[in-house]
Amino acid sequence: MKQFAVQFFTDMKGVQRSWLHEQNGLTNQVLVITEKLVNLGFYTNENELLDVMLPIIDLLDGSNDFNSKEEEESFIKTNELAATGAVTEKFKSSKARYKSTEENQMIIIIKQKIIDILHKVMDIQNDVRLTKFLIEFNKSDSELVKDPILSGPELNYLVNVEKDAVDLEEDQDTKNAVDTKIISWMNTSYKNKNLDMKAKSKKKDLICILLDIILYDDARMVNSAFTLLTRYFIQKSSLVKYAGEVQLLQDQ
């Protein structure tokens, strides 16, 4: 099923035609299946997610869409003339695609679904990074437990932080050491860019695609695309937030 979905989206080559209602209905259902598989945890590794993520980012790009048969024919004609050198001006995609009409409603639903999947992928990426952060924390903690000379000043400093009784002059060195250590954990966990949509999507610039989506006349989709865009640029602060919120349970 996963392979079929990847092949299906790849075969579409990022092009959607608003007048092919049945084809668009099928595309939407394949996306619903993909979303369900992601949500239910069928995608177990990053490579599988990447395989499906790249063709759907292509599909999200509205500049490839055609709003009518005439538009597609005009595109083909212009391309043929350009190949013979008869025209130099490139075909310009119509602005009609930004309007929310009955004809392109399914295309908007498809794009909305793709954005929902990308939100989930970003959640999974945050989870992977949080896990890496906690692994670094765990490793460092194990080293401290073995070495009381190292752990003594750090423990005192942390007790002072809890009591809100930090002496800035006395604890400055320990504070710097602790800060450097935590920043290094953060950098190690952030280094993982396996699911980074922009870094991985080399053919298409995801940021440009999302900015283009914002021009559509559909409040829900614009809101969702803008949220995704914001989330992309605050990944580090999200990781800091999750690291602060995570609850660690001691097993028996």
Binding site: G25, L40, D123, L249, Q250
Partner: protein, 89 residues
């Protein structure tokens, strides 16, 4: 004409069956999962010779009858409650 009406009947029937199993409706799922086995539904959904409308209804059926059901649960990520001893594993 008759074939077209028959085809439309099947399209509507598959849609109805998918709706009967929607939202993990166990009474619908337990009645229908043996009649519409997973292999059959997947084969129809993947078959290029079947029209897109019927295939998308088979996709709906696949989700509601065979994918989105117990004991599968939606994963909530990032996981914000972890066991300290299992972090490294």
């Amino acid at each position: 004409m008759r074939e077209e009406r028959l085809y439309n009947y099947f399209v509507a029937m598959i849609d109805l069956i998918a709706l009967m199993c929607l939202s993990r409706n166990m009474s619908g799922i337990s009645l229908l999962q043996d009649k519409y086995k997973m292999d059959f539904v997947v084969d129809c959904f993947l078959n290029d010779h079947i029209g897109c409308e019927l295939r998308s209804n088979f996709a709906k059926l696949l989700i509601s009858l065979h994918i989105d059901k117990d004991p599968l649960e939606q994963i909530n990520v990032p996981i914000l409650t972890r066991v300290w001893g299992e972090v490294i594993k």
